[in-house]
């Protein structure tokens, strides 16, 4: 196993009932403390791959290794951020954010204290007793992120986290996400279909081919992360990465 690999997938294959082959022989290494994105045309099985890593979907072939151990289901070292937010509509923000700890059996007082801290961290202080239907898309996704942070998992898996929010919110959220992650040792795997988003966020970009999904190319844009967001978007390495990805992806677009 690779030295600093925290997540490793080997020979993953997945065929759904009905014969659709989503993934074929996918082998990847996700380095610890880095942000990787899974990028590809729609229907390339990137969300399937993420859910296999999360332990939510059982692959037909291959293995998932987390921290040097083979896993067969969800585990406390991984937390998932859902595309559709997956917030409990009958629970307020505080209870939603604390839900992971509630399932683990952490006492109410303790879990709410931890949850409050993370709610403030994602910029939702004051909304603790609001219900999901009172929040905007961007705010809902912040709740989803806070919930993932609250269980203190080392690995955060995000399924198109910015696709259901508007462009301005998306940019702001991306910047805040990078800012948030810069200070802690989290490994993040993000599924996206946005080339700019992948180039902007990632240490490692995994490009997948259309169905069945296989690894097409791995790109590591050499972007200086200490720069501000606006400088990054004008950085030559960023622009080169965007261009390189597009050159590969456009052959898959019909």
């Amino acid at each position: 196993m690779h030295d600093d690999a925290i997540v490793e997938v080997k020979g993953i294959g997945k065929t759904y009932d009905g014969g659709v082959e989503a993934l074929r022989d996918v082998a990847l290494i996700f380095p610890s403390g880095q942000l990787s994105t899974l990028l590809g045309p729609s229907g390339c099985g990137k969300t399937t791959l993420l859910k296999i890593i999360a332990g939510l979907i059982v692959p037909n072939a291959g293995e998932v290794w987390i921290k040097g151990k083979k896993v067969h289901g969800p585990g406390p070292e991984r937390a998932f951020v859902f595309q559709d937010f997956a917030l409990l509509p009958w629970a307020n923000v505080l209870r939603n954010v604390a839900f992971g700890l509630e399932l683990q059996g952490v006492s109410r007082e303790r879990r709410e204290e931890i949850a409050r801290r993370h709610i403030a961290e994602v910029g939702l202080g004051g909304f603790e007793s609001s219900y999901p239907n009172q929040l905007s898309g961007g705010m809902k996704q912040r709740v989803g992120l806070a919930r993932a942070l609250t269980v203190d998992a080392d690995i955060i898996l995000m399924d198109e986290p910015f696709s259901s929010v508007d462009e301005q919110t998306r940019r702001k959220f991306q910047e805040e996400l990078l800012d948030l992650l810069r200070h802690r040792q989290k490994t993040v795997i993000v599924v996206t279909h946005s080339i700019e988003e992948a180039a902007y966020l990632s240490d490692q970009i995994v490009l997948l081919t259309p169905r069945p999904g296989t690894v097409s190319r791995i790109i590591r844009p050499a972007i200086e992360r200490s720069k501000g967001p606006d400088e990054i978007r004008r950085d030559q390495n960023y622009l080169d990465a965007v261009d390189e990805i597009w050159q590969i992806l456009k052959q898959y677009v019909v």
């Binding site: 999360a54 939510l56 859902f82 409990l88 009958w90």
Partner: protein
């Protein structure tokens, strides 16, 4: 709603006063009759026995209906095998089965309880099943991703998610349960409110008869409205699912 009730009450009163038929006395005389029926010992005894049958029957209907509905939604085989039967029984004329019940469980309170169960249980099963089937699958996935054990998925996600449908099922079941009590007792005809109905109609005491109908109707309405209060409380999240 108050307006429409008032119009009907007025129409009834006028029809009664016009003495179009001996079967329809005026509303005011029915209300007066209700006042004389209510304090009698005979009514108290009949109401008690009827309420007891209703309560026991509904308890069984809930205890059987909700778990069965959940099971049918979660285990595909069970849903397939029982789904058809539930749909048949929900529309079947269950009153016709009561005489057979009498032959099996005897003539008495047990028959009435079983009738209440049969009247109420199927709509509870069906609504619970629909609620669980339509529960947001991504919420279940979310709970699994945070390590939820199976019982936690049921208690903390599925049941709460299906609560609007389950409550609707309980409300409809309770209304049918009231019908079950009356029909069961009418057919057995020696106990409870059913005995009173039989007594009044045989002696042509139309005012008392209609008074009893009014009381039973008001009871069913009160039960239904009480459950509807809970339904409205959970409605805010039903709309956002």
């Amino acid at each position: 709603m108050v307006f429409s009730l008032a119009i009907w009450a007025l129409a009834w009163e006028l029809a009664g006063r016009a003495e179009l038929s001996v079967i329809v006395p005026s509303l005011s005389r029915i209300v007066v009759a209700a006042m004389t029926v209510l304090p009698t010992e005979k009514f108290a005894a009949a109401a008690l026995i009827s309420l007891r049958s209703f309560a026991i029957g509904m308890a069984f209907a809930l205890a059987i209906g909700i778990p069965l509905g959940v099971l049918m939604a979660r285990v595909r085989g069970v849903g397939r095998i029982l789904g058809m039967w539930v749909n048949i029984f929900i529309s079947a004329p269950i009153s016709a089965l009561v005489p057979i019940l009498m032959a099996v469980v005897g003539i008495g309170e047990t028959t009435v309880v079983v009738t209440v169960v049969l009247f109420a249980v199927f709509v509870i099963v069906l609504d619970t099943q629909i609620g669980i089937v339509h529960a947001d699958r991504s919420l279940v996935e979310m709970a699994r991703s945070f390590g939820a054990r199976p019982y936690q998925i049921y208690a903390k996600v599925l049941i709460l998610s299906a609560l609007p449908e389950i409550l609707a099922g309980i409300r409809l079941g309770a209304i049918r349960g009231v019908k079950g009590v009356v029909i069961g007792q009418l057919l057995v005809s020696i106990i409870g409110v059913g005995e009173l109905f039989e007594l009044y109609s045989q002696h042509f005491l139309m005012e008392e008869f209609w008074a009893l109908v009014l009381i039973v109707f008001l009871f069913a309405f009160a039960v239904s409205e009480t459950i509807a209060v809970f339904e409205r409380r959970v409605e805010y999240y039903a709309a956002t699912r």
